[in-house]
Every structure is written in structure tokens, then in C-alpha cells.
Symmetry: C2
Subunit: 271 residues, 2 copies
């Protein structure tokens, strides 16, 4: 999916909501555990109930790997279900990968070609030649960890190198990499006040923003400092939506939570 197509979807749906599909078998409704593939059945129900409210879905691969082969199969079925039934949805493999060149190429192949995700999250620590193999895939997007939503972000990301923070070096340096037009960035909603300075460095890039809701980030602040003429934001909510209820009404409860966020987004977009 191209960035232009993503922007069109955001304007059409009046939503820049991304729903995180982080499926924990201990948190989903018990009756689903009796089905053949509880992870996929959960995802399918959530997608069916919320696809008109969201422009993106983001499975975090950790939650699938934790269940071994069955988890990996559920991930495959989920992305196939999305690509088959909702090709207009932007898909994000939240995998936070990154390795030396030939190895990053294997990861890129896995997520962009075999699983056919539109994008994948990538860690920047190993630098240029660990990220460029992802950027080489045309029509695909690489979402680089810049300033993450967790407390540990202050361990290294906000430390000062020369005259600026590490994450700003990541932003600036990444712009010099080949095919950098395929880059997006992860910026946590818990760091909304940093967004003004981030926009000075990457005025147009899409930002994937986790941390609204459960982690304490505020939607209005994120939009105030981070929104561009083309929106430039995907706001992710995972637990706040998918675990709204653990009963048989879980999908409609998820839709209700998604609708709440989506209506706030509509108000912001129409303001």
C-alpha cells in the first residue's frame, strides 16, 4: 500500500486508528479456547467488529511466537484474512527486527513477501546496513523505532550526543539512507511533548504512535504536536480495545472502544 492510499483511507474513514492484535490466551474469552484456533478466531471476531473504525492492524509477533507453530500459523491466517477481506487496511508486523545486512534481508523477505505485510517495525541500533535491506522493498514501509513509549526510552534514546538526543540522531541519520522515503517512525504517545521537535526533523513522515490509553498517552496532545496536513499519524491501541471484555460480547465491546477513539479522531479531523 502506498502512503497516498493510506491517507485516502484515513480521510474516508475519518480515523487514523491502528488496533494492536496482541493476543494472550490468558486474556481472551474462555469459550474461544475450545475452538481449533483460538488466536485466529479472536482476531477474526475483532477484525469483523472493528474494520470500519480502523485503518490499520498491528499484530505484535511476540504474542504469536510465544505459542510456537500454532502461534505462527495463527499469524499467517490473520494476515491472510486481512489481505483477502480488507485489502484497504494497512498492516503492520510489530516485530522490532534488525540484524546485519544479509540477515535483515531474510527478515524483510519473511514479513514483506511471505506474510505480505505492508510494513514492519525495525530497531535502529545496528545502523544503516541493518535497515536498508527493509527499505529496498518498494511499496512497503519500514517503521523505525525512534522514541518508544516505555520508561526505558530514557536509558539511551534521550541521552545527548554532541548537541542532541540519540533519537534525533536516529531520525536525521535515517533520512540519509537509501529509499528513506519508505520510512515511518515509532514515537510513543507518552512522549507527546517531544513531537514538536520531532516534526522539525521529519515534517512529513507517518508516525506510528503507541501508548494512548493503557500506557497513559493523550490523543489530543499527540494530534496537537504531531499532526500534519496529511495527518501523518497512526494511533495504536492494543489492550484498551481488544480486552475491553472477556465475555461473549468481546467483539462488540472492542468495537465500542474503537468507536470511541474513532469519534475523537473524527472530531479532530473535522475541527
Amino acid at each position: 500500500m502506498t502512503t497516498t492510499q493510506l491517507i485516502t483511507q484515513i480521510r474516508k474513514k475519518k480515523s487514523f486508528l491502528c488496533i494492536g492484535l496482541d493476543v494472550d490466551l490468558q486474556k481472551i474469552p474462555k469459550f474461544l479456547l475450545e475452538t481449533d484456533d483460538p488466536i485466529f478466531e479472536f482476531n477474526k471476531a475483532i477484525i469483523d467488529a472493528t474494520h470500519h473504525l480502523a485503518v490499520a492492524y498491528k499484530p505484535n509477533t511476540a504474542f504469536y511466537e510465544a505459542y510456537g507453530i500454532k502461534g505462527w500459523q495463527a499469524l499467517e491466517k490473520t494476515i491472510q484474512y486481512l489481505n483477502t477481506n480488507h485489502p484497504e487496511i494497512f498492516t503492520i508486523a510489530d516485530a522490532k527486527r534488525g540484524d546485519i545486512g544479509n540477515t535483515s534481508s531474510m527478515y524483510a523477505k519473511a514479513f514483506f513477501e511471505d506474510l505480505a505485510f505492508d510494513s514492519v517495525t525495525v530497531a535502529p541500533y545496528m545502523g544503516k546496513d541493518s535497515v536498508e535491506p527493509f527499505l529496498a522493498f518498494q511499496g512497503k514501509h519500514t517503521i523505525l523505532l525512534a522514541l518508544t513509549s516505555n520508561q526505558g526510552a530514557f536509558d539511551f534514546q534521550t541521552k545527548i550526543i554532541a548537541d542532541k538526543e540519540v533519537y534525533k540522531h536516529v531520525l536525521e541519520t535515517s533520512k540519509t539512507w537509501k529509499n528513506s522515503e519508505n520510512l515511518m517512525y515509532v514515537v510513543g504517545a507518552t512522549k507527546a511533548s517531544f513531537l514538536g521537535e520531532i516534526r522539525e526533523i521529519v515534517p512529513e513522515s507517518f508516525l506510528l504512535v503507541p501508548g494512548v490509553g493503557a500506557q497513559g498517552g493523550n490523543l489530543q496532545d499527540v494530534c496537537k504536536y504531531g499532526m500534519t496536513d496529511n495527518i501523518g499519524l497512526l494511533i495504536n491501541s492494543s489492550r484498551g480495545i481488544i480486552y475491553a471484555s472477556t465475555e461473549v460480547d468481546f467483539a462488540s465491546a472492542a468495537a465500542k472502544k474503537a468507536a470511541e477513539l474513532q469519534s475523537q479522531m473524527t472530531a479532530i479531523l473535522e475541527a
Copy 2:
């Protein structure tokens, strides 16, 4: 496996060789492609031919994920084969994971409990709460990316924060994390001259050292600057060993290459 047990194995085998099981179906002998599980058959033959020469094996997960379900199954069979037949071998999941707390816990569960690896490589960019969930597993080891072997290491890792390089902050800060005794570090052989200063910060920790051979690193230099009284080094070679031949003699050719490195290690250990 405890660090003491690892040191005992190194002294017994007179080897601190780690063999990287980075299986690319385009590089393995063609006749293996006709078997039911070419990746596992390749690994099994390499392990059978080299297990007396190496103390550790390191599958890089990218090469398994690239083949989807079949790749993941081959990874499971490989670690099971190692744990069943060679429980004295130290196993490393080269996964370079790292995420916010609850998500890192899922990765730790996947690699330490379900797959039963002794250790996993983890990226430091997201800081303390992204690494501590791995450190919480007793008897398991977390191998933190410090100074990697690739050119991109100079993009961020060697930049100066205040008075020292980012990777030194990673080393120093990680020592303050809970259960930091379970830490090891990745330091590329291509950066051997940095090892003296690294040893000032982490005098005892084991270092996993990739980059000898194909990437140009030198074994003697690594040992000169990095070896401790308890050795403290695992030297990894992947392509240089496992792709020594692409014919039917691939396993014996791999053993020959492994034996060359192991005999150099023996000489160093006996010097």
C-alpha cells in the same frame, strides 16, 4: 546451563567455538532439498559432524522465519535435537528481540521456556524495562547487543554521549539492571581493538563474538584483548563453516573448517 558449566565445557573441549546455523536453502547441497525437512537435515548433519569441536550453536531466527511454518518447525526440531543429544552444548537463539515489558516477557517465554534455548540475543535500544523480562529467567542468559560487527555500528553505537560512546553507556547501564549477572554481550570481532576498553567495563562477562572469518575479524586479536581467566569468549562462525562445501561432503567440510578454528583456540588456551 550455568556460566560455570559453560567454562567447564570450554576447558574440556579446548574450544570456545560457536557455530552459526544460518540455513539458506539456496546455499545448502541440492540433494538435501529432496528430503522432507532440508533445513533440519542440514543442521543435523552439521551438528553430528562438529559437536565435538564447538561449545555452542547459534541459529539466527531470521533464516527460519523466512521459511514460515516449515522454518519454525525446523528451528524447533533443531533445538530439540541439540537439547536431547547434546545437553552439554550452549544454545543461543540469535533473535535480537526487545520490546516493552509485557511483550518482552512473551519473547522470553518463547525462547527460554517453549524452545528451551540457554540464551537469546537482545537489542538494547528500548532500555531497562525491555531487557529485564529476559533477565528474570534464572539459569538463562541474555546476550545484549553492545558493539556489533557491521559497518552500521558506527552510525549510533560509537557516537559519544557526554564523554563516552553509546555502546559503553549500554554496557555500564546494563550492569545496574536487575539480574544483570545473567548478561552476556555481543561484540563484533571486526572491532577487536575496542575490546580492551570493553574489558575495563565488563571484566568478567562472556562476550559472543561474531565476525571472525567472512567479515574479516581476527581470532588472535580478539583473544589478545578480550580473553579473561575464565576465557569469557564465544567466537561465532556461521557461513565460513556451514557453507564450506555445497556437495555431499558438506558436513565433513564443515567439520574440517571447525577443526581449524578449534585447533587455533587450543593453541591459544595452551599458550
